[in-house]
């Protein structure tokens, strides 16, 4: 299974106090192509990011399934509690098996 970088904007503080609630905002560049098949239309297979998963220090803190009704370039916002310094790993699972990955560091004082 291949892992590729992807254009994404992850907005979160670089550091936080222990126990603080941290807001994470994620924008990702993706056309979220819905399947199209109708008379007179070139058939297009579905190619969307169908799942989004975030781990923090190896532990899953956020997961969501995305449907074909979700807009292109989807925006997701969630919160997590700062427990210890570590890396947040953002993973998008695309139809066809590709996994896109980005990372962000959170320092906890």
């Amino acid at each position: 299974m291949r892992t590729v970088p992807i254009t994404a904007r992850i907005t979160m503080p670089a550091s936080a106090r222990k126990g603080e609630v941290v807001t994470v905002r994620v924008l990702v560049r993706h056309p979220m192509e819905r399947a199209a098949n109708a008379p007179g239309v070139a058939p297009t297979p579905r190619r969307i990011l169908h799942a989004f998963r975030v781990t923090y220090g190896g532990e899953e803190v956020f997961r969501m399934d995305l449907s074909p009704g979700v807009t292109a370039n989807p925006y997701v916002e969630f919160t997590t509690v700062a427990t210890e310094s570590g890396t947040l790993v953002f993973e998008w699972h695309e139809d066809g098996g590709a996994i896109y990955r980005r990372e962000a560091r959170l320092d906890v004082a």
């Binding site: 254009t7 905002r25 924008l27 560049r29 292109a72 370039n73």
Partner: protein
């Protein structure tokens, strides 16, 4: 009732109409952000929620890319501050160029690279990244000298009635600005937010793409992207926006 009181009463009765006239009115040209819904306006100014910034990021990477990169001549992209506020402008050879046109020409002449093509992803990204550096700066296009005939052409295009609906631009964007049309609020029709991310498009798009939608809306002929008529109109729109802030990358419905 004395004449004075009668006049005062007449004025009082007319007041709501005067106020409504100002809001939906012809005289004042306001920045497009004033016509956006509060949610959209906030998101436009928030890079963490505005998808247009994904293109900005790509554009900034393109600026540095390659042996003969933009950066190798122009230096850091921060040096592009205020440039977008001066376009469209007349080039040395007398052609009217908008920001997209200038970037394409620079690519062909100085970078020896093939043109990206109007509305291509890299051109949109690079234009957005350059335009962002003028964000908030007042529009200050040159309208005299060599630009004067283009401005006049643009004004004619703006004022001409067009299409099966036989409408001129001003009949919506001056006479009815602030009122609703097809679920959106009519703005003064400025190009200051372009390239803009339109939720309708699900992507970033140029002003000319938006103008094509306007042409379709009045059932007139849709001109090709980069057409001289649209370029002249772009200059006229910029002259209407003189002194108003650049909003690019904009966020539109």
């Amino acid at each position: 009732m004395t004449a004075g009181r009668r006049a005062a009463r007449a004025l009082l009765l007319a007041l709501p109409w005067l106020v409504a006239g100002l809001l939906a009115g012809a005289a004042e040209i306001r920045p497009t952000r004033d016509y956006l819904s509060p949610g959209l306006r906030d998101a436009q100014e928030d890079p963490s929620r505005h998808p247009g910034w994904l293109w900005v990021e790509e554009g900034e990477a393109l600026w540095r890319e390659g042996a003969r990169s933009c950066q190798s001549c122009h230096g850091d992209i921060a040096g592009m501050a205020g440039v977008a506020a001066r376009y469209p402008a007349v080039a040395e050879d007398g052609a009217l160029l908008n920001l997209e046109g200038r970037i394409e020409r620079c690519r062909a002449r100085h970078q020896g690279a093939p043109a990206f093509g109007y509305e291509s992803e890299p051109l949109l990204a690079l234009t957005a990244a350059v335009a962002l550096r003028s964000h908030g700066q007042p529009v200050a296009v040159e309208t005299g000298g060599a630009a004067a005939p283009f401005l006049e052409e643009g004004r004619r295009f703006y004022e001409a009635r067009q299409g099966q609906l036989n409408l001129s631009c001003g009949q919506c964007h001056d006479d009815n600005a602030g009122r609703r049309l097809r679920g959106d609020v009519i703005s003064n029709g400025l190009g200051t937010g372009y390239p803009a991310y339109r939720l309708d498009w699900n992507t970033l798009g140029s002003l000319h793409r938006r103008l094509r939608a306007c042409s379709l809306g009045v059932r007139a002929e849709q001109l090709p992207l980069g057409a001289p008529e649209y370029l002249a109109l772009e200059l006229f729109l910029a002259s209407r926006a003189a002194g108003l802030p650049i909003e690019a990358p904009g966020l539109r419905r």
